[in-house]
């Protein structure tokens, strides 16, 4: 059923479609991250903004991707922007929710201690609030990355210039060639799983203070005592 010879003949194409997939994902996630970070900071400073921001990004999330990609073509033409803009819009809801939850999770006594010891408000934000929000920020990045990797495939309906690994899926459907559909689908899944694992590893490195679950005993226990027999 799988035409292995065809796959071996197209490894070059697989490699550059993977790179394209990564590029569209990284660009969208980076832009979405920056916009959502601004929105999240704005809404924790000014709480009244939170509901409209969540409502607006939630509404964007409901637009069918199959419709949004073609709708942009008259505006932005067949440029990278046409693929990236919808991907950014879909990532916003995930990002904003996680960022706000991350900042809200910083305990009030930590903020009081920071103020009381004489942090400026900017110093408190970057040195205390952001580091402590990292676990939920990274959780948002992981979710948004995995969801964007899946959505990049859909951009293939804009034509062969787009789609990343989704190109194989669309072409496989056109030619009724299952090998190509499987290749595109499985490679896309593998990419998502690999990125998620990489981000999880990055989070462990970024947050050494978060006790990692260990096989035996309490995590990070202060003193290792010999177990009395």
């Amino acid at each position: 059923m799988i035409d292995w010879a065809w796959i071996l003949d197209h490894l070059d194409e697989l490699a550059w479609r993977t790179l394209q997939h990564l590029y569209l994902t990284a660009a969208s996630v980076a832009i979405g991250f920056a916009i959502a970070f601004g929105l999240a900071v704005w809404s924790i400073r000014w709480r009244a903004a939170l509901r409209p921001i969540l409502g607006g990004t939630g509404l964007l999330y409901t637009i069918p991707s199959l419709a949004l990609f073609p709708l942009l073509v008259p505006v932005t033409g067949l440029t990278d922007a046409t693929a990236i803009i919808p991907l950014v819009l879909y990532s916003l809801l995930i990002f904003v929710r996680n960022f706000v939850a991350g900042f809200d999770a910083v305990p009030a006594e930590i903020l009081e201690a920071a103020d009381g010891t004489g942090y400026s408000s900017r110093g408190r934000f970057w040195s205390v609030e952001v580091p402590l929000a990292i676990p939920l920020i990274v959780a948002g990045v992981r979710l948004a990355t995995v969801s964007t990797i899946a959505l990049v495939n859909i951009s293939g309906l804009l034509g062969d210039r787009f789609g990343g690994l989704g190109f194989f899926i669309f072409e496989g459907i056109r030619h009724s060639f299952p090998t190509e559909i499987f290749l595109g689908g499985l490679a896309s899944i593998a990419l998502a799983v690999a990125m998620d694992a990489a981000l999880q590893a990055a989070q462990r490195r970024l947050t050494p203070w978060v006790a990692q679950p260990t096989a035996v005993g309490s995590p990070g226990s202060a003193v290792r005592r010999p177990v009395p027999s």
Partner: protein
């Protein structure tokens, strides 16, 4: 070592909008002066404004009217960030930064002040040492690996890091168990003997206030200062029914906690050394009128009570299963603890020993009871 500075409240009022006076946390016309180097405890029921008063000193809360001086300077004139870096701040939940190591937490203010990293590390190690935590073991740990008592010690070390003249402590030992609390209280008092900082200390626990305070400010719901004075004054002469109720019906007993055995001269006691001449011992006991002799060892440490008439007529005095030599007090024992030990052992007198354990004399229940009746100095 910086010198401590006095803290003065001048007609300080804090009102919260929308509610009348008597709303929780409000402070009404508070005036008091904490002399440099003293511990002043703000105590009162919840909502009495004690924490509000404390937080106005580092301007986490701004007063509605009135002013607060540190030294001779109105704190409203100082840059708020610089002010806070010059005041140590300890809170009940400690508020250690979980993403920083213990060493980094302690060095927070030195870091904010821009000290070079080596000096920050040295200072952190010095302070961990001071609060009884081995820097080699603790400095590189994260706070989540510490017990509650250890965290609170780190919190105190952090507050002291830049050697501030004033320390604010908001129920600092409220979240630890009673045994650890007692130990932390004693350690803070021991530290304060050397540091001599001006400390404002908030608690709702009158016993803690009496123990920790050189001065106690009793506050009342509505943010009124009900009484301000030494612990002994407040216990001996409560200024109002409110204060009397707040300090409790056992205030006479509580006063006993303020007096230590070392503060009074013990009554003499007839002692006899192991191996001394029995006939001689009988003679000296007869002259004393008290039917017991305290048997002591070669270094005058108490062994047991002997009945004078049970002494052998001749030969030497030896231990003879007499009454146990208990209770034993040293100079740090409070009258309150002494009384409860006397009641527990059902005797009239306790033995006072010096730091080497040698007998100095006796304290009787009469002396202790006497104390509950004397007016405050």
């Amino acid at each position: 070592m910086s010198t401590a500075e006095r803290v003065v409240f001048e007609h300080v009022t804090k009102r919260y909008p929308g509610t009348g006076s008597g709303n929780p946390g409000a402070v009404e016309d508070l005036s008091l002066e904490v002399p440099a180097g003293k511990i002043c405890v703000l105590v009162g029921p919840s909502g009495c404004g004690k924490t509000t008063s404390l937080k106005m000193v580092n301007r986490l809360i701004e007063p509605t009217s009135g002013r607060i001086l540190i030294g001779d300077t109105d704190i409203a004139r100082r840059d708020v960030i610089e002010l806070r870096r010059s005041i140590g701040y300890v809170i009940q939940q400690v508020g250690l930064f979980p993403h920083q190591t213990v060493g980094e937490n302690v060095a927070t203010v030195p870091r904010l002040l821009g000290w070079d990293p080596a000096r920050q590390r040295d200072r952190a190690a010095e302070l961990l040492e001071l609060v009884g935590l081995d820097p080699a073991r603790y400095a590189s740990r994260y706070p989540n690996a510490l017990s509650g008592g250890e965290r609170q010690r780190v919190g105190v070390a952090r507050a002291l890091a830049a050697d501030p003249p004033v320390l604010l402590m908001d129920e600092p030992f409220g979240a630890v168990d009673p045994i650890v609390r007692e130990r932390l209280q004693n350690e803070l008092l021991r530290l304060q003997e050397h540091l001599a900082k001006t400390i404002l200390f908030v608690t709702h626990d009158i016993d803690e206030a009496i123990k920790m305070g050189d001065l106690v400010a009793v506050m009342q719901t509505g943010g009124h200062l009900a009484q301000f004075g030494s612990p002994d004054e407040i216990l001996a002469r409560p200024a109002s029914d409110f204060v009397a109720r707040f300090v409790g019906a056992d205030r006479g007993l509580k006063r006993l906690a303020l007096v230590r055995i070392g503060d009074v001269e013990p009554a003499p006691v007839a002692t006899v050394r192991i191996g001394a001449d029995a006939a001689e011992a009988r003679r000296s006991a007869a002259g004393d009128g008290f039917p017991y002799l305290l048997l002591v060892d070669e270094r005058d440490r108490p062994v047991e009570w002997l009945r004078a008439d049970a002494l052998p007529a001749t030969g030497s005095v030896q231990a003879a299963d007499g009454m146990p030599a208990a209770p034993i007090f040293d100079r740090r024992t409070t009258f309150k603890d002494a009384l409860s030990m006397l009641l527990a052992t059902d005797v009239q007198a306790g033995i006072v020993v010096d730091d080497a354990g040698a007998v100095r004399g006796l304290i009787t229940t009469d002396v202790i009871e006497q104390r509950t009746r004397t007016p405050a100095p």
